[in-house]
């Protein structure tokens, strides 16, 4: 069966270290942290009192949403997702369908999240418990339904093809891209808006704090708190935001003379089945390796063609295990290992939003020819240095041509997703 080639023609981001592509690109190149101390977390007795929350500049929201749309919209994840999606559409130069036009029957949306509208849900719970259910208004359901984010986005752009929300914990963002890719490759749509977003704040982060998987040792120095691949890594830093990508057929992109950032060569998703050392919270290494190998096979490339890896690398004891899984799956180690970096050093772990924000970082590297720096890993973990040469873990930006990049995300439930991109 003939499969369509799929390319990326638009990107948008709402990240803790930069809202909108221009600001994010600058922060990414310079290794700027988006992690801050939150007094609210201290008051609530959180162990980890730092996190990553996007800062919307004055007027940014108004540029994309009118007063009525903003009214009673209390879900960070939905707001971030809409903003990233609309930036990606504008970047791709695809006009939004006006209200009196039919939808674009060939454009769909796969936009993932882990949960939706925590703040709104909290407000609704108080109202219901007080016997005031009639006061919930019309915006409670769309904000707390998990598919709210894709529904809001498709309403804004007028998408008439497949519109859905995927959810696979921290693999959500990478998975959404693969779902959109498959849909276009198999000829069912011409364009797909893909990505993911997530709420921020104590109701989302609390459960992780309780599990002691976040780093509580850097409350006084938030910008140093997220330390992927370092010997001093002590847990991840929770954050949130959104990343969005416009995927379309190569043919469509060429016909409308669009800027092509990269081609999605292929990818894979699988699950460790919570066996062989895998669990609700820890990955089965064989599954991770199988997922990476399956992605290479699907993309029809050799491991030697990979120039750079954007890892999952959350800044826990599992980082060294992840590196050994990459070494095994690619059969590359030492100075033959590709460059590897983790955006989480700068923005923490965006949970469901992480895969899409990290993919945007990868695409920007391809577009602008650089490898972004790993911050906070001056002290690379010795177990990692035993496998990979230190120069492959750049601590300063490297300006170099990057052609082929691989991105993987792993998540609770032993889920894995891996995508491969190439600049042509």
């Amino acid at each position: 069966m003939k499969r369509n080639r799929v390319v990326i023609t638009g990107i948008g981001i709402v990240s803790p270290n930069g809202v909108g592509i221009p600001l994010f690109l600058e922060a990414l190149k310079n290794g700027e942290s988006g992690i801050r101390f939150f007094p609210e977390l201290a008051e609530l007795n959180f162990s980890c009192q730092v996190g990553g929350k996007p800062v919307l500049s004055e007027g940014y929201l108004e540029k994309f949403l009118n007063a009525l749309e903003q009214r009673k919209l209390k879900s960070d994840g939905i707001i971030y997702g809409i903003l990233a999606a609309l930036e990606a559409m504008e970047d791709a130069d695809i006009p939004l369908r006006s209200n009196d036009e039919p939808p674009d029957w060939n454009m769909g949306v796969v936009f993932g999240t882990g949960s939706s509208g925590a703040e709104k849900f909290r407000e609704a719970i108080y109202q219901v418990d007080d016997g005031n259910v009639r006061r919930l208004g019309s915006t409670t359901v769309p904000q707390i339904m998990v598919s709210g984010i894709s529904a809001y986005i498709s309403g804004k752009i007028g998408a008439g093809n497949w519109v859905t929300t995927n959810s696979s914990a921290c693999a959500t963002g990478a998975e959404s891209i693969l779902m959109g890719y498959e849909h276009i490759a198999s000829g069912k749509a011409t364009k797909m808006l893909c990505g993911s977003s997530g709420d921020v704040g104590p109701y989302i982060w609390g459960g992780f704090d309780a599990m002691r998987v976040t780093n509580w040792k850097y409350n006084a120095s938030p910008e140093q708190a997220s330390r992927p691949m370092s010997a001093s890594a002590n847990g991840f830093i929770p954050s949130g935001g959104a990343g969005a990508l416009v995927l379309e057929t190569l043919e469509s992109a060429q016909q409308r003379n669009a800027t092509i950032y990269a081609e999605v060569l292929g990818g894979a998703v699988n699950n460790g089945g919570q066996r062989q050392g895998g669990s609700m919270t820890a990955p089965n290494s064989e599954a991770v390796q199988r997922c990476i190998k399956a992605a290479l096979q699907n993309a029809e490339i050799e491991p030697s063609e990979i120039d750079t890896i954007n890892g999952h690398l959350t800044a826990t004891a599992m980082d060294a295990t992840e590196i050994s899984n990459w070494c095994e799956a690619l059969n590359r180690k030492g100075s033959d290992f590709p460059y590897i970096n983790s955006l989480k050093g700068m923005i923490g772990h965006g949970l469901a939003a992480s895969g899409s924000m990290e993919t945007i970082a990868t695409i920007l590297q391809l577009q602008h020819d650089f490898i972004f720096p790993n911050i906070n890993c001056e002290d690379v973990h010795p177990d990692i240095l035993r496998q990979v040469s230190e120069e492959k873990i750049p601590k300063q930006r490297i300006d170099t041509s990057v052609k082929t990049a691989i991105k993987a995300s792993f998540g609770f439930g032993d889920v894995n997703a891996c995508v491969i991109f190439r600049k042509n």
């Binding site: 009525l68 209200n99 208004g137 019309s138 915006t139």
Partner: protein
């Protein structure tokens, strides 16, 4: 409260929910809120909540069922205010 005064307080509430393609000048007493002013039917419940807050009254399900036009809204509000006076 006179119907003029109620109308003056109701107007900004209705304007909030007008879609972008309907001008505020098009609002008058006889207009049907959803059919003519194009207020999204889901937003009617939000209009009602705003009216309750503005006039310190509570509308019943029956009131909401009988609410079609701007005039209906004024009548309902007037009756509620009279009952609570």
């Amino acid at each position: 409260m006179t119907s003029e005064r109620i109308y003056a307080k109701l107007l900004p509430i209705l304007e909030t929910y007008l879609p972008e393609d309907v001008d505020a000048d098009e609002i008058d007493m006889e207009k049907d809120l959803t059919a003519e002013l194009n207020i999204n039917s889901a937003h009617l419940v939000d209009v009602v909540l705003d009216v309750e807050d503005e006039f310190d009254i509570e509308l019943s399900n029956d009131d909401m069922e009988s609410l079609r036009t701007v005039n209906d809204a004024i009548t309902i509000i007037q009756n509620k205010l009279a009952a609570s006076a």
